[in-house]
Structures are given as structure tokens and as C-alpha cells.
């Protein structure tokens, strides 16, 4: 009865390693296909069918599987397969999973489905279950992900997408199941066999999730066809989604002189200008979806970076020395769909992400200290036509302080199909309170409409000498000379001011406002101005005034404007000449602020940059 064998050696550590181990078998398999393989449909009826072996996945509980002679799906059955899924934290393994395979293949081309009966100790979900996992190439792997089972025996069906492919299949059955909310469970499977069913049908297949995508491209660019989907209609009339390997799809290019596609769906642009459409079929069924490559010919490189290498920490660029990077695509399970098809044109390496939802780049060994940097630079190119404006989100993660910050760039639809250079101040990643140990850059398709993008020249930089912090004025602004009865003062020690005025309104600005004393004279100081408002204590009728007076001082500002605002808001700006040499005084005719309602002035505002000192803001007449 118990003729199965366990392979628990390191052979099973990772599927990726196994692919390498078994790659050498490919040629032999082709030869073997000429021989006739047994067509035995049985996998496990009352025990292992002839030639069947079992191997547990690495990391799983190796003893999760056993043969159960007590619990069976019918009186006629004398044995079932029992699987015990471990609780979270089980030292024996984190999940139950393994492969039932034969040493030599079976010819399953006369069947169209794998069927079995199953039940569990509770209504639960088996993570993944199917066939075609042969511990090797897994070329024709198929599974249902998230198979719901109940406490009663029920028959389950996993369709074979194209039976003609399975002439020498070794992977007869496989499964992987983890705990649910930390709790393990037990499930049984019985009567596992291949059948030719007339009760399933209407197969549907799709590439690119069924979408017809159009992508601008260039000679030398590679991409991939993702978003592979398949459904079959079950005997209950319901469509069942199954996950199927790319090898079931036959990809085709409408013009191989423009683009070629291999059997795995990898696309390489070979010529241009011109257009090629990539389509696929499974067996005799055309798959929904297509990828139209519009090759523009010679590759358009990203703009050459301009920043001094001295001021750069580079993650990915051919123009700088890059820091060690763990990976440019973490393939984070389970929600990431993004795949990579990075390419090199004329020695220019370019990252290419497709089937994009989010993707992370990690540089954790060692992490990057970007405290001396001011900006993140990324060049991106969206090769697909955008159906609407897009939101390209970047998250920076600091492993030291365990903090992260997110910045989102709006990309208008007409910016697709060209290089876009993003230069984002690191201060514009709210929440990133430390950048001493940066370790990840995560790109997110926040609007959900960017199918793919190229990326190049990803680096942090210091934008060079920022405006030198200006010295403070050595003396206060000149004392005003206008008679007080001709003055309505907003800010001045020399006059009675409009009561209740707010010099610190929070309008979302970055400017740091303070009131300092210079030789005992109160002076407004705007540090790092972007904009800053002044909310008058009450609405002011200044129709009988003639001028707005301002004294201002700045050593580093290159732009400074003053706005007057009446309800609406109706606002008009007046440009002030900066930087100044010492204190500048100006009397701006109020007519300059038309169409602001001078009978109802509510606010003033300054915009610009740099560090500004301001005093003696008042209306006056002669």
C-alpha cells in the first residue's frame, strides 16, 4: 500500500533551483515523446497508481500527507489521501504542499480534466491545487487558486487547457495549502483521476487580461506578454478561473520583421518603424487580448543626467556608479503582478516593468544614507497610450527608522510615449522622517491605468548649493514717516495695527514664519518661502487710501510677489525686486491691484522663494 517515497532533501528547496537541475532533460523529453506513454488515467483511487511518487515541497511539513484507510469518499473506496495543514508557527513547516509525480510520463491527451473528491474538517480554502508540476520545468502547470472545500465530500474538476500538450506528463497532481487565520486544518482527497468530461466546456483564454494594448517601442526593446487568464464553464454553468502556464499559449507576431515573440511570451522588437500585433491561441481557441507594438525604430534614450557625480547616490544608471542593489523587482507575493523585461540598447540598460501594479527595488545591504541628498530623480517612459491621466506613485522606505513616505506625480494622458524626468524633493515624501537608511523604492500605479513603463537614471542627488542662508539685516527697517492719521497699518511698530490680524494662517504652505526683533523692532521673517498669507483681523475698506507700503530685505530670494485679496477670492499680485541691497521700501499704488475690491480687502499674501524679512506693511495716503 504505502509504496510512496518522500524526497525531503535540499533537492526541493526552491522551484527555481529545480528548473536549472532539470533543464538538461529537455532534449531527452523530446525524444521520449515518440515512445508511447501509458494512458492510465488513475492517480489515486484506493492507493497510489503504478509509478506514482510523492515529494513534499521544501519548507512544507514533510509529513503533512498520509494515506487514510478510515475516511473515504464512498463505501467502495478503501483509502483516501489525508493532508494536515499546520498551524502558524509550526516548527515542522509553514504549510502543506507537495507533488505526486511519475518517473516516466503519462499520455493524458485523451482526457480533458483532472477530477477528485475532497472534503475538510471545516469549510476552508486550499491555496493552490492542480497538475503539471513535475518538479522540473513545470512547463504545463495548471492550478485552481483558492479552492473552496466544505465538510462534505464533493467532486472537483480541474480542466486541461489543451490536452494535446500532455503526451508525456509526469506531474499528475500537486497542492499547496497554508493555515487560515493562523489555524491549520485537515483535508482529504480521494478518487483522483483524469477523465474525458462532456460536462465542461466553453474554454476562454486571455492575454494581457483580455485587453488590447498598444505600446510604443523601439528596436532592441524587450517586453513580455503577461495577464494570462483562462476560464472553463463547469457542469453547474459557472465559469471557473484556472491558472495556466504560458506554454499552453501559442504566441504569434503579425510581423516578425518588427517584433518576435517566443513560446514563453517574451517579445523582442527587431525592426521599425512599423507595427506588429502579438496575439495568442490555446489549442483551437483564440485568446482575447493583444499587444500592438508600434516600433518607432531607433531607441530614444532617456535624457543624460546632468548632476555632478559628487552629489549623486545612484540606484540605477549607466552614467553613475550604482550602489549595491538587492533586486530591481522583488516579485512580492501575493498581490504583485508586475513582471520585468529589462533591456539593453547600445549599452544603455533600461528597466522595463510590465503587467504593472506595483514593484519594489531594494538596496538594503547596505542601506543608503541620503541625509545629504535633496532630491530623487527618475526618468520614466510610459509606452502605452494612456486612457486618462495617471498617478505615478513613489514610496521611499527607510529601514533604520522604519518609516516611509509617499509622493504621487500626476501624469497627464498626453505625456505618455515620451521620457518624463521626475525630480522630487525628498521633503515631498511626507512621513519619511529619516533618510539615513533608505532601502526601498516602490513604484505604484495609483490610478490603475499604467500597463507598463521603462525606467532609467534612478538616483538621489543634492541639487547643489541651495540659496545660501541669508544673513539677517543688521538694522531694522527704516522708521516710517507718514502721518499716522493717513495710515492704516497691517504690521508696524510705528503705528496702531488692525487688531486681530493672523500672521500665521495655515494655508498648507511650507514657509516658516516668525516675528523676530532687530534692535528691538518687530520684524516678520519668512524662511524658505513658497507662499505665506496674512489674514486681516477684519475686512478693510481702503478706497480712501492711495498706496500700499512695504519694507523688505532679502539676500537670497530670486522671486517675491505680494498679493492683495478681496472676497471671491479676487487677487492680484505685484512683483517686488529681489534680492535687495539692504532694506527696500516701496509704495505700490493701490490701482495696481485692480480688480481687487478695495472696499473689502481681507488678505495679503507673499509668494516666491528664499528668506525674506518684512516690516511696515501699511496703507496710506498723502
Amino acid at each position: 500500500m504505502k509504496a510512496y517515497t518522500f524526497f525531503r532533501s535540499s533537492l526541493l528547496i526552491a522551484a527555481g533551483m529545480l528548473i536549472i537541475l532539470f533543464a538538461g532533460c529537455e532534449r531527452d523529453l523530446a525524444d521520449l515523446e515518440k515512445a508511447s506513454f501509458p494512458t492510465n488515467p488513475e492517480v489515486f483511487i484506493n492507493g497510489f497508481s503504478p509509478g506514482l511518487n510523492y515529494a513534499a515541497f521544501g519548507g512544507s511539513v514533510p509529513t503533512a500527507f498520509s494515506v487514510d484507510n478510515q475516511v473515504t469518499y464512498s463505501d467502495q473506496s478503501t483509502a483516501s489521501m489525508r493532508f494536515e495543514v499546520p498551524d502558524a508557527g509550526d516548527p515542522a513547516g509553514s504549510f502543506a504542499g507537495g507533488v505526486f509525480f511519475t518517473e516516466s510520463g503519462r499520455n493524458l491527451s485523451g482526457y480533458n480534466a483532472l477530477t477528485f473528491w475532497a472534503k475538510a474538517t471545516q469549510s476552508t480554502t486550499i491555496g493552490e491545487i492542480g497538475f503539471g508540476n513535475d518538479l522540473g520545468e513545470n512547463k504545463y502547470v495548471v492550478s485552481i487558486q483558492g479552492l473552496n472545500v466544505t465538510t462534505g465530500w464533493r467532486k472537483y474538476i480541474i480542466p486541461i487547457p489543451d490536452p494535446a500538450k500532455l503526451t508525456a506528463e509526469r506531474g499528475l497532481f500537486w497542492y499547496a495549502a497554508g493555515n487560515i487565520d493562523g489555524k491549520g486544518f485537515t483535508f482529504w482527497i480521494d478518487e483522483v483521476k483524469y477523465e474525458k468530461l462532456g460536462t465542461i466546456g466553453h474554454p476562454k483564454f486571455a492575454i494581457l487580461n483580455g485587453e488590447n494594448q498598444v505600446e510604443t517601442s523601439f528596436i532592441g526593446v524587450s517586453t513580455g506578454v503577461g495577464g494570462l487568464m483562462s476560464t472553463f464553464n463547469m457542469p453547474t454553468g459557472i465559469n471557473q478561473a484556472i491558472s495556466i502556464a504560458p506554454a499552453y499559449f501559442q504566441f504569434a507576431s503579425s510581423d516578425p520583421s518588427i517584433a518576435v515573440v517566443d513560446e514563453a511570451g517574451n517579445v523582442n522588437v527587431t525592426g521599425g518603424p512599423g507595427t506588429a500585433e502579438i496575439t495568442a491561441r490555446v489549442g483551437e481557441v483564440d485568446a482575447d487580448g493583444s499587444l500592438t507594438i508600434q516600433s518607432l525604430g531607433e531607441f530614444e534614450h532617456a535624457p543624460t543626467p546632468i548632476h555632478d557625480p559628487e552629489n549623486v547616490i545612484s540606484i540605477f544608471s549607466d552614467h553613475y556608479e550604482n550602489v549595491p542593489v538587492d533586486y530591481y523587482n522583488g516579485y512580492w507575493e501575493p498581490w504583485q503582478t508586475t513582471q520585468s523585461a529589462d533591456f539593453t540598447v547600445d549599452g544603455d540598460n533600461v528597466l522595463h516593468y510590465f503587467d504593472f501594479n506595483f514593484v519594489g527595488i531594494q538596496f538594503a545591504s547596505p542601506t543608503v544614507n541620503a541625509t545629504g541628498m535633496t532630491h530623487l530623480h527618475v526618468d520614466i517612459f510610459l509606452p502605452n497610450q494612456l486612457n486618462a491621466n495617471a498617478q505615478f506613485q513613489i514610496e521611499l522606505v527607510d529601514f533604520g527608522a522604519d518609516v516611509s513616505g509617499v509622493n504621487t506625480t500626476n501624469i497627464s494622458a498626453d505625456q505618455s510615449q515620451q521620457w518624463i524626468s521626475l525630480d522630487i524633493p525628498l521633503d515631498d515624501f511626507p512621513g519619511l522622517t529619516s533618510r539615513a537608511a533608505l532601502a526601498q523604492i516602490i513604484f505604484v500605479d495609483a490610478g490603475g491605468n499604467i500597463p507598463s513603463f521603462f525606467a532609467d537614471n534612478i538616483y538621489f542627488y543634492n541639487e547643489g548649493a541651495p540659496p545660501p542662508p541669508g544673513d539677517e539685516p543688521s538694522s531694522p527697517a527704516p522708521t516710517p514717516t507718514h502721518p499716522a492719521n493717513n495710515v492704516l497699518a497691517v504690521f508696524s511698530d510705528a503705528y496702531e495695527m488692525i487688531p486681530g490680524t493672523d500672521f500665521f494662517p495655515d494655508w498648507g504652505q511650507q514657509t516658516v514664519v516668525s516675528i523676530i526683533q532687530i534692535d528691538g523692532v518687530n520684524t516678520l521673517k519668512y524662511s524658505g518661502l513658497n507662499y505665506q498669507g496674512i489674514q486681516l483681523g477684519s475686512n478693510q475698506n481702503v478706497t480712501d487710501m492711495e498706496y500700499l507700503h512695504v519694507d523688505f530685505w532679502t539676500a537670497n530670494s530670486t522671486e517675491l510677489n505680494i498679493f492683495m485679496i478681496s472676497p471671491g477670492p479676487v487677487e492680484t499680485s505685484f512683483s517686488l525686486t529681489v534680492p535687495t541691497t539692504g532694506w527696500s521700501s516701496i509704495d505700490i499704488p493701490l490701482s495696481s491691484f485692480a480688480p481687487v475690491d478695495l472696499g473689502d480687502v481681507i488678505q495679503l499674501m507673499f509668494t516666491g522663494n528664499g528668506d525674506i524679512f518684512i516690516d511696515n506693511i501699511y496703507f496710506h495716503k498723502n
Binding site: 474525458k196 459557472i238 465559469n239
Partner: protein
């Protein structure tokens, strides 16, 4: 032009061996041995025409809208005469398409009322059904005195009905006074390893004053005689033909999220014969 078809029923059972007779396993062995009859074609629509054309207006008319209380069955669809819901496919078929638009559905129901009705004979259609929970295709007859005596007094003969969640089972029924709605006299026919939506099948009745015989692919699976109905036998006047695809309703239940749409009933032909000596 009139063609006389001759059916020899005694041989028919041999080439439908795979069929499991669930409901009639206890019937006598010679159940399939029917009298030979000569059938003369009197009315048909082969649905030849250009793709996108509406069905021949000399033969078919439409039921439109949502009827009263979803055509008496809480059906969800709105019937239209739009080509996207009902049209020829250019390959010799009529296609009735049920379309989902959010939570609303459109479909079509065509009938020969006022154009053709017949008492007794053979009524048959070759068609592929739609599928999926909540789909309810039907090929059926209604007494053409429905407007004067009402339903169910007029009588109803359902030659083929199917629940989309059971695409391997069809039902044949008669409704009359005292046996209508959810309580008809009914039988069903099950494909043991096949489905009615994946291949064409021929659904037929043969009807005379003594009985109504129900066939799938010329296999007799049900005979209903006057003594079988718990009420008045009302199948003694002309009936007209209806083809429709309903969505939802008391017979089939609601469609669910996993119900694939659009759904099509593809009708190769409808033919009506009369018996000749």
C-alpha cells in the same frame, strides 16, 4: 415543394446508447417502438438570411418589455426587438442573446401568434441552449385562444426548458387548468456526459388527440396522455410557437456574479409537420 419525411422510430434508440434514462428505466422495453408515421412539413423557418437581420416578419412577431410581474415569473429581463438581442447570424441560425448591463438584462422572445398556429402534429427545433445560473431558455407552445380564455385554460406545451445551472438537463411539460405554474405535468431528460449548450440537439413533440410525446434527438423520453393530467385536457385546439431566453425568474432563480454574459440560444431551425396517412 412539400416534402414527406418518414421516421422509423424503432432504430433510433440504438444510436443514442449513452443516454441514461433516469426517469423511465421502469418503462416497458417497447416504449420506443412507435407506430410509423408519415410527417408532412407544413411550416418551417430555417433562418437563412443576412447576419443582423431580424427574424422573418411574416413568421414571427415579438413580445416586448417586461410583461406583467416579469411575464408572470419574476423574470428580470426586458425583451427587445434589437438585433443585438435577436437576429440571424448569416450562417443559417437565429440567435437570441441575453445581455447583462449592470443589474439589468435584455433579451428577446419571438412568437408566431397571429401568423401561424396548428392543432396536432410534430413541432421540432434544432438548437443550442445558453448556459449559466439564472438563464432560462425555452421552446414552447401556447394555445392560440389565450386572449379569450386566458392562461392556463388555453394550455401550454413546453417542448424544451432548461435551467442554466443544469446545462445537461432539459424539461418537457404541459400546463393546463389545475396543473400550471410551479405544478405542471413534467418530465426531464439528462445527458450523462454532455451538455445542451455545447452541441445542437433536436427537441420535438408529437401530438395528437390521445397524447403528447416528448423527444430529444428523436429519443422518446416522456409521453403525456389525457389521464396523466390532474385536470381538464386542453390540448385540442391550435397552438402557436414561442422561442425565448429569460433571465432569472421563479423557474431558474437569479443569475449570479459568475454567470457568464452575454448568453446565446442558437436556433438552426423550427419545423412543424402534420401527420398524413
Amino acid at each position: 415543394m412539400k416534402t414527406t419525411y418518414k421516421f422509423n422510430k424503432s432504430h433510433i434508440a440504438y444510436f443514442i446508447m449513452p443516454v441514461l434514462l433516469v426517469f423511465f428505466g421502469c418503462e416497458r422495453d417497447d416504449f420506443q417502438k412507435l407506430d410509423e408515421r408519415n410527417w408532412q412539413l407544413v411550416w418551417s423557418d430555417e433562418f437563412e438570411g443576412e447576419a443582423g437581420e431580424l427574424p422573418d416578419p411574416s413568421k414571427w412577431t415579438f413580445d416586448l418589455g417586461t410583461g406583467e410581474d416579469g411575464w408572470g415569473n419574476q423574470e428580470l429581463q426586458r425583451y427587445t426587438n434589437n438585433p443585438e438581442n435577436v437576429s440571424l447570424d448569416g450562417e443559417g441560425n437565429l440567435v437570441i442573446t441575453a445581455i447583462r448591463d449592470g443589474n439589468s438584462f435584455t433579451s428577446a422572445r419571438i412568437k408566431t401568434q397571429g401568423l401561424f398556429a396548428q392543432q396536432y402534429g410534430r413541432f421540432e427545433a434544432r438548437l443550442k441552449t445558453p448556459f449559466g445560473p439564472g438563464l432560462w431558455p425555452a421552446f414552447w407552445l401556447l394555445g392560440d385562444n389565450v386572449d379569450t380564455v386566458g392562461w392556463p385554460q388555453c394550455g401550454e406545451i413546453d417542448i424544451m426548458e432548461l435551467r442554466g445551472q443544469q446545462p445537461h438537463i432539459i424539461h418537457g411539460s404541459v400546463h393546463g387548468p389545475g396543473y400550471s405554474g410551479g405544478n405542471p405535468v413534467s418530465g426531464s431528460y439528462t445527458l450523462i456526459n454532455g451538455r445542451f449548450d455545447m452541441d445542437y440537439h433536436v427537441f420535438a413533440i408529437e401530438w395528437d388527440e390521445d397524447r403528447i410525446d416528448f423527444f430529444v434527438n428523436d429519443f422518446l423520453y416522456q409521453r403525456i396522455e389525457p389521464e396523466d393530467v390532474p385536470g381538464e385536457w386542453v390540448f385540442d385546439h391550435p397552438f402557436f410557437i414561442i422561442l425565448n431566453v429569460a433571465v432569472g425568474g421563479s423557474f431558474v432563480g437569479f443569475p449570479i456574479d459568475q454567470t457568464p454574459f452575454p448568453q446565446r440560444m442558437i436556433v438552426d431551425y423550427v419545423r412543424v409537420y402534420t401527420a398524413v396517412d
